[in-house]
């Protein structure tokens, strides 16, 4: 009998895994189960240029034709209720049983909610419907309050300004992107938002949000009140672990997987935003990444390992954000760094190299117009993967090609 591999979650990661199973020559059955009714689509544009396009359209990752051609059975709009590990089958909300030989959980993450804050003027962003609904609200003069100065909040602030909405962004910490980027880059991003007319509020927490059918008021701990037509909450995401937790798989800030993406059940793998995994280049430190590239890479790797390849995770975390004309790229885990070396590329573009206490390049954060930092961040990523200890003077000198350091 043909083997049956089932993938739960039809986002970037799940869709990639399904296609990768076929690219690897798997000839058993592949079923891709999605909670949303849509064909797999790309999420990154939802906060960025998707908000600005004249006609809003999802960019499909895999069309119905491609899925059919690859003989991937796509089942959209299906809620999986439980994993019956003993019986090796999934139970769906409508009572169907779906047997599996190997299972991949690519269940993603959901926006973290502000407790008790709900209503039709309160918005979150994750799905195409969220984006469509929000987009219709971003009109000239409309007042948008954004809670959270992270990437979703900042990208939406930029998109909202481009569409003419008035934006106030509230960040509880003293600066933007505290955990994600060094102070110098956060300052550059802040200045750009201020130039665009975004009102920024720092170091003030949310005391409460009240709203009716037409407007909302955000009350801050300081006593200040922000009046708005709508409120977008962008305070991070939480991994979708309930299926795994109820099936008693190990959980550790996400579905815990080993370096091969296997969960505590050898027939069940997890990949993408929903899982935490050990990163060898950082001494086995366990991380969970919410990024497009990670979703892709782990989807491919999970497919290989479901087929028995036994390949370990070897990628360097990589992330990007677009705001206005600025492109930000980060490779590696910058909090592993003890010091920073700066390289200026001209035209306001720069890269900050994060160096560990023992001289190893552990991360690089770059910002510039368009993709000005892309080449060097990509090379930095390769240096990080090699666990290189480049001369700091060479990193700082834009006339020294990073490619030459790679060969060293």
């Amino acid at each position: 009998m043909a083997r049956h591999f089932v993938i739960v979650g039809a986002g970037e990661c799940g869709a990639r895994a399904a296609m990768a199973l076929r690219e690897q020559g798997f000839d058993g059955d592949v079923t891709l189960v999605g909670g949303e009714t849509h064909l797999p689509y790309e999420r990154p544009p939802l906060s960025k240029h998707g908000m600005l396009a004249e006609v809003f359209a999802a960019k499909t990752i895999a069309t119905a034709e491609r899925l059919a051609e690859a003989n991937v059975g796509f089942r959209g709009g299906v809620q999986v209720a439980a994993i019956d590990r003993g019986g090796k089958r999934l139970l769906t909300a409508d009572g169907t049983a779906l047997p599996y030989d190997k299972l991949l959980l690519a269940t993603g993450a959901s926006p973290r909610r502000l407790p008790g804050v709900e209503g039709e003027r309160i918005f979150y962003l994750r799905t195409l419907e969220d984006a469509q609904r929000l987009r219709g609200e971003l009109l000239p003069g409309r007042r948008l309050a954004i809670v959270g100065g992270g990437f979703i909040g900042l990208e939406l602030a930029a998109s909202a300004r481009a569409r003419g909405a008035e934006v106030t962004l509230i960040e509880a910490l003293p600066r933007l992107l505290s955990r994600a980027v060094p102070e110098a880059i956060a300052a550059q991003i802040q200045a750009r938002h201020e130039l665009a007319g975004v009102k920024l509020v720092f170091g003030d927490g949310i005391a409460g949000v009240t709203s009716d059918a037409n407007s909302a008021t955000v009350a801050l701990n300081s006593g200040r009140r922000v009046e708005a037509d709508l409120v977008l909450v962008g305070i991070g995401a939480v991994p979708n672990i309930s299926l795994a937790a109820e099936a008693e798989l190990e959980i550790d800030n996400g579905i815990a997987v080993d370096r091969h993406l296997a969960t505590s059940d050898a027939d069940i793998f997890a990949a993408g935003d929903c899982c935490s995994f050990p990163l060898k280049i950082y001494g086995g430190r366990r991380v969970r990444l919410e990024s497009w590239r990670n979703a892709q890479d782990q989807g491919s790797l999970a497919a290989c390992n479901m087929l028995g390849a036994n390949e370990a995770i070897s990628t360097v975390p990589w992330f990007w954000s677009d705001q206005y004309e600025l492109g930000l790229q980060i490779a590696g885990l910058s909090d592993e760094g003890a010091s920073i070396v700066r390289r200026d590329l001209g035209n306001g573009a720069s890269i900050l190299f994060h160096i560990s206490a023992d001289g190893r390049l552990v991360a690089a954060s770059g910002i510039g117009v368009g993709n000005a930092v892309a080449k060097d961040i990509r090379l930095a990523e390769m240096l990080i993967a090699k666990q290189a200890r480049p001369m700091q003077a060479s990193l700082a000198d834009a006339d020294v090609k990073l490619k030459s350091l790679l060969a060293a």
Binding site: R16, K59, G370, N371, A372, A374, K375, R378
Partner: protein, 103 residues
């Protein structure tokens, strides 16, 4: 009609690198390989229309600066997800220290 267009000086492109060339509303990418030959392709990635000239060239491969889609710039072949549509390539000739492409 086929015509040869001067794209850049031979020295404008470093070895194992790429530059952008705009002509008649179209974007091209001009490459110089590690063995010092010149190649040309369409300049925008077939995935999200990103300029490939901001990407990294390693050996025969150009990698999109945004989503790491990879192409062999000598043949235009897409090397896997997220890119699945090949890049168009153009004939190249060197004359008097300049790079010409056939468009």
């Amino acid at each position: 009609m086929v015509e040869w267009i001067e794209a850049c000086g031979a020295d404008d492109v470093d070895e194992e690198d790429v530059i952008r060339f705009d002509h008649a509303g179209k974007v091209f990418a001009i490459y110089r390989s590690p063995d010092d030959r010149y190649y040309a392709t369409d300049g925008l990635c077939t995935h999200e229309q990103i300029s490939l000239a901001d990407g990294l060239v390693m050996d025969d491969i150009i990698e999109c600066p945004k989503h790491n889609g990879r192409f062999n710039y000598k043949t235009g072949e897409a090397k896997g997800a997220p890119v699945c549509v090949n890049l168009r390539t153009y004939a190249v000739k060197l004359e008097n220290g300049a790079v010409f492409i056939e468009v």
